[in-house]
Symmetry: C2
Subunit: 351 residues, 2 copies
């Protein structure tokens, strides 16, 4: 980050933290008035398998055994989305919530220590919302391997996540809170690491094309919208805005693990779309996250260079210390949600 960018971030931070008359009150325990709650799949294709041997299946001890034929049609490449429609939306457009790698839409729900999550926060603020499980995650279902997916998936352990998500140093993981090593002032509720690890799902590193296609179709179907993405969703969100610059009205990326190469994607294409990138603590001392932050910075700089608006919330520079990669689950998750919402309010996204 350059000195000027840092100063602009500070100035924005002070304005937001001081609050102002136009910012509505923080969503509390009030009622959520919904017109409907729907769940459905978007995108995907039909793949027909043949030549596989039959095998005997007995689905439960009382079931009639049958020779199951695995040959036939498979629906693959679809994503799952849950749509919450407000009776009287206060948000002028819906918010789409796109999770990160090895995770699902549960990212945005109740935090591992049992607090209200970002999805509920933005519903209480009055936005229509769409919470998705990307292709092959959660309710989206996954395509069998090796017949359709050619490789086996990755399974993340909390041992791995500990360092990657910056809860603490390498080998700092323990399921026993008394033995855990966390970074000073850590905001992630690390004592509840077991509950968090229950959210982990297998991921394929080969399905980006399917995922992007499905997200682009979702945008065509339900936008205009604001997209809030996390981590792996970086390239999916930035790409979606490039692919539908008339449909995506704001981009908010929480710790993007990938961005777009400004040599291949023009910042001018999306200069009318306000972008916001949010970073937690302990990024600069982490080799991988420093690189990812630089990638994001390089891309958003191309947007500002083209005359567009791209803000960065560097949380520690704004006085919020100790945030992990899982900002929306951290102990101060509501505080960060308020900053994000206030950014939207100032841009006129609420009635």
């Amino acid at each position: 980050m350059t000195r000027n960018q840092l100063i602009s971030t500070f100035a924005l931070a002070l304005t937001l933290l001081n609050g102002c008359a136009s910012i509505p009150p923080t969503p509390g325990e009030g009622t959520i008035h919904l017109k409907s709650v729907r769940g459905f799949h978007v995108s995907g294709e039909r793949v027909r398998l043949s030549g596989l041997p039959l095998r005997e299946v007995r689905t439960n001890p009382q079931a009639v055994p049958r020779m199951a034929d695995p040959n036939g049609d498979y629906q693959v490449g679809q994503l799952y989305v849950q749509q919450f429609s407000q009776v009287s939306p206060k948000g002028k457009v819906p918010i789409l919530l796109w999770h990160g790698g090895g995770l699902t839409g549960v990212t945005w729900e109740t935090t591992p220590d049992g607090r209200s999550g970002w999805h509920e926060f933005f519903m209480r603020a009055g936005y229509d919302t769409y919470v998705s499980d990307a292709v092959e995650r959660g309710r989206a279902s996954w395509a069998r391997y090796p017949e359709i997916n050619k490789v086996e998936p990755e399974h993340r352990t909390p041992d791995q996540a500990w360092e990657i998500f910056r809860f603490g140093p390498k080998d700092g993981y323990s399921s026993d809170p008394a033995k855990q090593k966390v970074y000073p002032g850590q905001q992630f509720p690390a004592a509840h690491i077991d509950q968090f690890a229950k959210q982990f799902v297998a991921r394929w590193t080969t399905s980006d094309v399917w995922i992007q296609k499905a997200y682009n179709e979702l945008v065509q179907r339900v936008c205009p919208c604001i997209i809030i993405g996390h981590s792996q969703a970086g390239m999916f969100v930035f790409n979606a805005a490039q692919a539908a610059p008339d449909k995506v009205k704001a981009v908010i990326m929480i710790e993007p693990a990938s961005a777009l190469d400004p040599a291949k994607f023009s910042g001018a294409n999306v200069k009318h779309i306000p972008h916001l990138v949010v970073w937690g603590d302990n990024v600069a001392t982490d080799k991988a996250w420093s690189l990812y932050r630089n990638n994001a910075q390089r891309y958003t700089s191309a947007i500002t260079a083209a005359g567009g608006s791209a803000d960065t919330f560097d949380l520690p520079a704004m006085g919020l210390r100790g945030n992990s990669h899982m900002v929306m689950m951290d102990k101060n998750s509501d505080e960060v949600a308020r900053l994000v919402r206030n950014w939207l309010v100032k841009l006129g996204f609420e009635h």
Copy 2:
């Protein structure tokens, strides 16, 4: 079904179909007033793997390649549940919705042809609800194989489902609605078979113990309650009521694929819990479903023999023809939901 049982079913059906003053109006397009929407995992255990080789992973083209260590802790055996809490519940206790085999909680959401599902129906009727994904399905996540699960999972095709779910005769499946062979008067929206097939998820036939344990823990945590289950959930629901006869206040099984052996489970244990079993059309001519219906009948007969209450809705005998195994997705799904709700109303489950 004996002649007397048939007559009693008819009599009940006529009462319900005629309606009566005490039955509240059908939920329409009114607002759903929610206090909160939560999502979390219940049950599960920690399994530690060791001795597996490292492998190089690059999660996306821009990511720093890393040697991933698959050794470490895994959380397995948990189920996922989404909790919708009404501001002023009209239902005296919440409804838990438990899906069938190879499926997830999406079963109860929007139907494949885009209509409102049973979950929305019961939310509009004013019940608190809990919609789960059983262990290894959807957002519950699945345990890696062969290291934790010893066998590979089953993947269902729409070709298989066509006959098993009684949409039409064996080999009647086609993705092209013009080429499909359906049973006369079929209520399943077969033209939308692709959208339905997107809901299919892999299943393990070896995880019943985990699933039952997780469901029993869910009941301890969130009940007293009514449980509505489908298909594979039969034994899970009937077992849950036997295991917690003080917590489960009503059991509603839609086409249970399994029941309990009355030689091992006493009907007297649950005689104070009203049971309802619902069956669609074309059951008697299907070998497997005839057997499953007999199993359910044998178990519920043990409940009535002990002086308890166990009703059967044989939908074709009640004048509703053409229902498939996926009653909650059929074209007349709202009509069946109303019958089920009216059964609850008559038992005094609504304020």
